[in-house]
Assembly symmetry: C2
Homo-oligomer: 282 residues x 2
């Protein structure tokens, strides 16, 4: 048993799945939950996802040797301030948020032994009802150590994710945000915008949306609250990635306008090669 | 048996799959093929996809009571001109192209009994090697009749697609191009542009592209030649759809810049609702 008691703050898809996985793999003996909705917490206890709950995060973290921030990432800083005087002095704190960067430095300055983590999992589902103990099996988990990170705490968080079957990768928090702006945050924004384009167009189109449209916009089913927070916290990188995307779109637009068939084919071939390389790498 | 001999001009994914399906369902007794690459045609004969072939489309259509244009859509008009004096005077001509609109009116003016058709199938694969006799099973097939379309020919093409298991839908050719610019052509352009954004960015990102990125760009694996032609033939509708998309993207960009969290959440929620409606309809 790695941990005696884990406090999971936010019992949504990621928090609840983590609770299930920690128990299944024998990583934590007991689990307490905190959340905003008592009904959700009560159901989570009923399903055996968590053992107890509190509507006060300070209560939930008491006696826990592991604390996990799993609320929408925009609330992490506030939550950290609320719990900082209640966490056990030997406890480790971590998170499962999609944004790292400056947030990790800030959380490390508030909580004594915070280690940033981002399991690349979840997809478009949300809520504890979709939780599964295999959500992290085989997925990549980025752990963002900094010069200030407590090295023993870092080791234990690495061990935790390996025990859950994740492929652990250490990365600088700022590089994480740069990379994920391009490979994840930008695609979400585009999926939302494409869906909105069809929403704004007349109602005839929607009936004819096929597999291509559905795949391209699948991630537009993701939680608006989560992605609102990501946009805010990774704003500069995201704006850069949108700018780069717009350059590519404007290039294609100009080629279409000029009816430059060879130019279009070359751009599409370049895109296809990149996409093929991704299939080969993963 | 609906047809004695079908000439399939262009033995790629769609043409070869159509040949297989026509034989399997007993819709055509024999099938001749035309293509640019003899090696491909010889292999198609070897695999029993077609019975004979010619490198001259005028030879391929001789004695055929059904002629199918299945080359890249940009070459349809030229091919129609080449074969017009060689097609049997009682034959029916059709196509499997992704663009209709003005092209249908043009082809109807060149070929005596042309009926435009667009089976919504194929995805990102291409080439006869990926052909399968079930490619059209359960898919939607748009048939674009016009006031000039021969009604008996239209009936027979409808019957053909129903026999192959497709869900037939009649639509005006111009409306087809308007609708498919938004639900199919625009998503392809965005997928290509997103892949190119990552290609232009440094090499570190590609390693971290996960399921979301892969789904969003899957259709960037599609044939550059095909999509080059679609861009050219459906230019105005496509430019309109890109313009509408850019409005949505600029809206999100402004909200991110202003850190308007409520505004972002509302836009994302609107997109998610639209996307959910599509899952419910299909």
């Amino acid at each position: 048993m790695f941990f005696e008691k884990t406090a999971i703050l936010g019992v949504g898809l990621l928090g609840a799945s983590l609770a299930l996985a920690l128990k299944k793999k024998g990583v934590s003996r007991s689990i307490s939950g905190f959340g905003r909705t008592e009904e959700n917490l009560r159901r989570a206890v009923g399903k055996g996802i968590i053992d107890s709950y509190s509507l006060d995060p300070r209560e939930a973290v008491k006696g826990a040797d592991l604390v996990v921030l799993a609320t929408p990432v925009g609330s992490f800083t506030q939550t950290a301030h609320i719990i900082k005087d209640s966490v056990d002095k030997d406890s480790i704190q971590t998170d499962v948020g999609s944004v790292k960067g400056a947030l990790v430095y800030e959380l490390e300055s508030i909580l004594p032994r915070f280690v940033g983590a981002h399991p690349i999992s979840g997809g478009e589902r949300s809520g504890a009802d979709n939780a599964t103990d295999g959500l992290f099996d085989g997925v990549r988990c980025i752990i963002t150590g900094t010069p200030r990170t407590d090295s023993r705490a870092l080791d234990r968080i690495e061990g935790l994710w390996r025990a859950l079957g994740a492929k652990v990768e250490l990365m600088d928090p700022d590089l994480h945000d740069r990379v994920y702006a391009f490979v994840s945050h930008l695609p979400h924004i585009l999926a939302y915008c494409l869906a909105n384009t069809l929403d704004t167009a007349d109602g005839e189109q929607i009936k004819f949306a096929g597999q291509g449209f559905k795949d391209t916009t699948r991630i537009a089913l993701s939680s608006p609250e989560l992605w609102r927070d990501v946009c805010s916290l990774n704003r500069n990188n995201l704006l850069d990635s949108i700018k780069e995307f717009r350059k590519e779109l404007e290039k294609i637009e100009a080629l279409i306008r000029q009816n430059d068939m060879a130019g279009l084919e070359a751009e599409f071939t370049r895109a296809r090669s990149l996409r093929k390389r991704i299939d080969q790498k993963n």
